[in-house]
């Protein structure tokens, strides 16, 4: 039975959950024996045992696809048969081909690799048990976060180990084009989706019918990344709604009684791609996925990546989530096989569910000591970090202080038990030797230089080099961010407005929540709950005193408030800088291609002149987020006719937003807070 969904906003943290190291057993048995174990899972009760060819046939012969094919044939003037042929081709390219033999091969390989990479893989058995139950009762959607390529097959691996049906997994098409590996993944249950489908009607139709058929028949659990792609920043990404929509539709249309969503939080002590991520964010293009690349990457196998935690969340019943939010009878008057644009009510609900899942993933992820250290290291002046180093003693003390704060904020902490705090600290730093080194009582940032190069670095290159190291730190800080965001925003509101009035703080809180909606995950329509949560957390840790009308800062709370405010300062600085760029730069119309390097240039200059203290604005992720935020606030509009992503900027609006953000004018003058809809 799926659990009752109670409160999405607050982490329903129970007592320390039992995590079991699944590698421990694997290390005692032979890999081959493991791969050949009997595998006899209990499938979803209503599911007929259907082959992949049955699935493809059902998709191709569906009324829906017939209809779309006819429509496209009419629009393009080609024959229906031709369009259907094309659809068949798309389906061939997309379709998974799950085979037990390959699952065994996959399990064998993955097992070997994981044993090399990780000390332990911890899994919460209780979550796994609930999943096992849920799978028998309704179609199940597995929704992990995605922080590393490594986790692509981790869920399948765990399910194979515990006799639970293997999922089919939505993957990006580049994986499919890898020689041999693509085919192995396909046979391990991956199906492949093109990037940038855009307005390709036929592709959308095939994909959505394929996904819906999988959900409808419940032939296998479906796994997909609601964030859409691997988060380069290790921070949660605002969910994508396309897949979510397809997955939920069979419930909306009454084709299944219920659907179970299982959020899965995967947390790493150390992410395999850490250095690649930072470079990518700085604009160094990511290497194309290729098999040879994979083998080259095999040097990563020599490294130690600590532990991995896979936390299976409580199964959520879509029926219960959607109760009272939607009226399914809107599908009564049009045949369900025909395309129908969902009402805004349905769209909002899908958006809400997607956000809720990502929030739940956040709440389920574990924060490592290293993330706490990263938060603190980033608050030190950059020169301290790169030159003389930060005092080890001070860092230890501060980290322990922060540990307490995380616990106060109900974060899940992965702090090794039965070890002294100083051992935890030093082993953590040792694990992350690629980013920091600890010498003579001080901790310094490791800067990846190219020792072969004889030429001294130009100042700009120096900035980029430091930025690469800083962004790595930033990404580990990001793993802990979700715990601090809400109280952090309140602390920022207190800092900027200097107000003690609750309603004033609330409206600034809402403004920040709105501006930063692309940076952090906020569940739509829950502004006041978020505010209340922030207040109660700050009150709990003794930072503020709350009364009916007022929030007063306590002397004892200055340390917490200043930590939180500094934690978010890089975001404010980055946004302000880009606002400034947009206002002061002459162009009213610009393309994304011009925008990104221009911002980077300006930022580099300001960093060198000492006027800018954050490197985060150099990250293309930040830059894109600001653009999205401004579009949401309607200060920037995308030109429809334009082919190469042209934007038009309303400088006055950008300036006004910047002025509110810096506290010059109150937020009431902002035109709308669009998320009060739900």
């Amino acid at each position: 039975m799926t659990s009752t969904y109670k409160d999405s906003g607050t982490a329903s943290l129970k007592d320390e959950e039992e995590f079991t190291d699944i590698l421990e057993e694997r290390r005692c048995t032979t890999d081959l024996g493991y791969a050949l174990r009997t595998f006899n899972p209990q499938p979803y009760k209503g599911a007929p045992s259907s082959s992949t060819s049955d699935l493809k046939k059902a998709v191709l012969e569906s009324q829906y696809l017939r209809y779309i094919a006819k429509e496209i044939a009419l629009e393009t003037g080609s024959s229906v048969e031709k369009v259907r042929q094309e659809a068949r081709g798309i389906l061939e390219e997309m379709s998974h081909n799950l085979q037990l033999g390959f699952i065994r091969l996959m399990a064998y390989t993955v097992n070997k690799v994981f044993k090399r990479l990780f000390r332990s893989i911890y899994v919460n058995m209780e979550g796994l048990n609930m999943l096992q139950q849920a799978i028998q009762e309704s179609p199940v959607i597995l929704m992990p976060n995605h922080r590393s390529y490594v986790d692509f097959l981790i869920v399948s691996f765990i399910l194979f180990t515990y006799d639970i049906p293997i999922p089919v997994i939505a993957a990006g098409i580049p994986l499919a084009s890898m020689k041999v590996v693509g085919e192995i993944l396909r046979r391990s249950g991956a199906f492949f989706i093109r990037r940038a489908i855009g307005s390709d009607k036929l592709y959308w139709a095939v994909l959505s019918e394929y996904v819906r058929t999988i959900v409808r028949t419940g032939c296998a659990p479906l796994e997909f990344y609601v964030e859409g792609f691997r988060s380069r920043t290790l921070k949660s990404v605002v969910p994508k709604l396309g897949m979510m929509d397809m997955v939920l539709e069979p419930y909306f249309k009454g084709e299944v009684f219920d659907i179970t969503l299982v959020p899965i939080s995967i947390s790493y002590d150390r992410v395999v791609e850490e250095s690649l991520l930072a470079l990518e964010l700085l604009g160094v293009p990511k290497p194309k996925e290729s098999t040879t690349g994979l083998f080259k990457a095999s040097r990563v196998l020599q490294e130690d990546y600590g532990c991995m935690h896979v936390n299976f969340g409580r199964p959520l019943s879509v029926r219960q989530l959607c109760e009272g939010k939607i009226n399914r009878s809107e599908y009564n008057l049009i045949p369900r096989d025909l395309p129908q644009r969902p009402s805004t009510e349905i769209q909002d609900c899908v958006n809400w569910v997607a956000h809720l899942i990502v929030r739940t993933q956040e709440e389920g992820s574990l924060i490592s000591p290293w993330s706490l250290m990263a938060c603190l290291l980033l608050q030190a002046p950059i020169t301290t970090l790169t030159e003389e180093g930060l005092q080890w003693h001070g860092l230890t003390e501060k980290t322990l202080w922060l540990r307490k704060l995380v616990l106060d904020f109900r974060g899940r902490l992965n702090w090794p038990a039965h070890t002294t705090d100083s051992d935890v600290m030093s082993s953590t730093v040792a694990l992350h030797h690629s980013i920091v080194h600890h010498k003579a009582g001080r901790v310094c940032l490791v800067q990846d230089g190219d020792p072969a190069s004889q030429d001294p670095l130009s100042p700009e290159e120096g900035v980029m080099r430091t930025a690469a190291a800083v962004l790595m730190l930033v990404s580990y800080r990001n793993q802990a961010l979700h715990v601090f965001v809400r109280p952090g925003i309140l602390a920022t509101a207190i800092h900027i407005t200097k107000s003690t009035q609750k309603d004033e703080l609330f409206s600034f809180f809402c403004f920040l929540r709105d501006v930063f909606a692309n940076e952090f995950i906020f569940i739509p329509g829950r502004a006041s709950q978020d505010f209340d949560e922030a207040c109660s957390l700050l009150q709990k840790c003794g930072a503020v005193h709350m009364s009916e009308q007022e929030v007063t800062v306590l002397e004892t709370g200055l340390e917490v408030l200043s930590f939180l405010q500094k934690l978010l300062q890089p975001f404010l600085d980055s946004y302000q800088l880009i606002f400034r760029y947009l206002c002061e730069n002459g162009a009213h119309v610009f393309t994304e291609k011009q925008f990104l390097p221009a911002v980077q240039n300006l930022a580099t200059k300001l960093i060198l002149s000492g006027d800018l203290h954050t490197f985060e604005v150099l990250s293309s992720d930040t830059q894109k987020n600001v653009l999205s935020a401004l579009r949401r606030l309607e200060a920037v509009t995308k030109l429809r006719a334009s082919q190469q992503n042209e934007y038009k900027v309303n400088k006055a609006a950008v300036r006004r937003t910047g002025d509110i953000l810096s506290g010059k004018i109150p937020p009431e003058s902002l035109h709308a807070i669009p998320d009060a809809r739900l």
Binding site: G254, N327, R328, S329, D337
Partner: protein
Amino acid sequence: MCCLCNTKRAMCLLTCGQSIWVCLQEIMKWNGWGYSDSKFLYNKKGQAEFTGKRYRLSGMIIPGLREWMESTFGANLQHKTPAAPILNSSAVQPPTLNEAFLKELKSTGIPFSHDAEDRVFRSHGHCLHEIFALREGKIGRVPDLVVWPNCHNDVVKIVELACKHNVCLMPYGGGTSVSSALECPPEETRSIVSLDTSQMNRILWIDEKNLTAHVEAGIVGQDLERLLNESGYCTGHEPDSMEFSSLGGWVATRASGMKKNIYGNIEDLVVHIKMVTPQGVIEKSCQGPRMSTGPDVHHFIMGSEGTLGVVTEVTMKIRPMPEYQKYGSVVFPNFEMGVACLREVARQRCAPASIRLMDNEQFKFGHALKPQVSSIFTSFLDGLKKFYITKFKGFDPNRLCVATLLFEGDREKVLQHEKQVYDIAAKFGGLAAGEDNGQRGYMLTFVIAYLRDLGMDYYVIGESFETSVPWDRVLDICRNVKARIVRECKDKGVQFPPLSTCRVTQTYDAGACVYFYFAFNYRGLSDPVHVYEQVEHAAREEILANGGSLSHHHGVGKLRKEWMRETISSVGMGMLRSVKDYVDPNNIFGNRNLL
């Protein structure tokens, strides 16, 4: 003792010296379904038995019922919940009488009564909560007076008097409503008069040239068929309640009959209606078979559920009695195949007089109701059949389902038709399973209502409800509604999984009628009726969310009123409202159904 019976019997004795007249109230249960002499009970040996002589099952032992009840509901013969044996008249509120009305009514000579028993008998239909309350001896608001008009003109007089003295009238036919339609609105402060049409039960004429019969609306289904049969005709309208429900009631609720595939539903059968309203009598001027004269005023009457007036006389189509009848049944490997077969039958428009598909749970239920077989040979044959289907044909006994069929017409055509249907069934994996199973299926229709009373003796409560739905949604709605019931019961603290089952009972070109049965063991619940109502409410929400209608033939009454607006739109409600406001501005017909 029914008050009218006393007076009428006395009159009969005076005039003709012998009483041929039977008052239904005399021979029916006051707090359960049907005839007093017919009921299920567990005999001293603990075996289930059906008493009386009226039905094929009467007097028989049903060996499998006990085990089925115990295993399905976790019921136990030790845990009884007996009903209050007799009506306690002191629990009935004294009548609120409108003296002026009463005085003038007396002068008309129309029989009436304010005896407690007569009033209580007409205060309810057969919803679970109504019967449950009666069994506990709880009596709510009941009519203050019962009148028995004898003909159309009597009704005209009563309605005139009611208007004159502002009395609330509630028409009462057979009392088989399952929509709370007969419940007196508790907020009604006027005197409520129950207008019992049972005395208007004559066939006034039969027109053999046009094949129509003109009938008084109070006639009960079984009497109508019996009397017409005597002249070699039938209407062919056979709702499951036909033993007790009346022609007027059918018109007022848009009833549907089992054999509608041949004869049509009530709206297809009716040629002419006469109704008495506060504004006067409404009827058409001729009996043309179809007219283009604006919206059909019959459609204001059909389904009006007693809110506009009293239907007094109806001209109905009749047919010569069929030469030949044949039952049949088909077993399908699963419900999905069964539905696909019914859909195909509907597509080819070759549905027999009746075709019904029961799901697996109902199949098992029907099985449990098999009477004890007398010969070893029959039981041997049964065993063999079972072996053939489950072992030889590989049907899973927990998934298979059965369709029952009824063919009617001349012999040759029936046999031809039968072959056609069985051929279609075979395409969907269906195996012919004999006439016997089919016939028993239809017989169960009539006794199933009695079974609820047995359940209620042992902590089991339940009810049926229905909907109509497009073909493509049939499977989804069946699955989802059944699952919703199970989930709601669990959430509401019902200890044992409920019985949640359905059958497809009618096929149409564009969809089907689906009937759900739902029952559970309420031990451990403090307010079982409330739980029941919550689950039923949730089930109806589920039906609507899955594209089902609010009702196929039970009607809306007060039970389903809350969904009317979303069902027919605000404008639709306004249309109905304006008709009501014109026809009955003072709400004389104040049962508050529908709107």
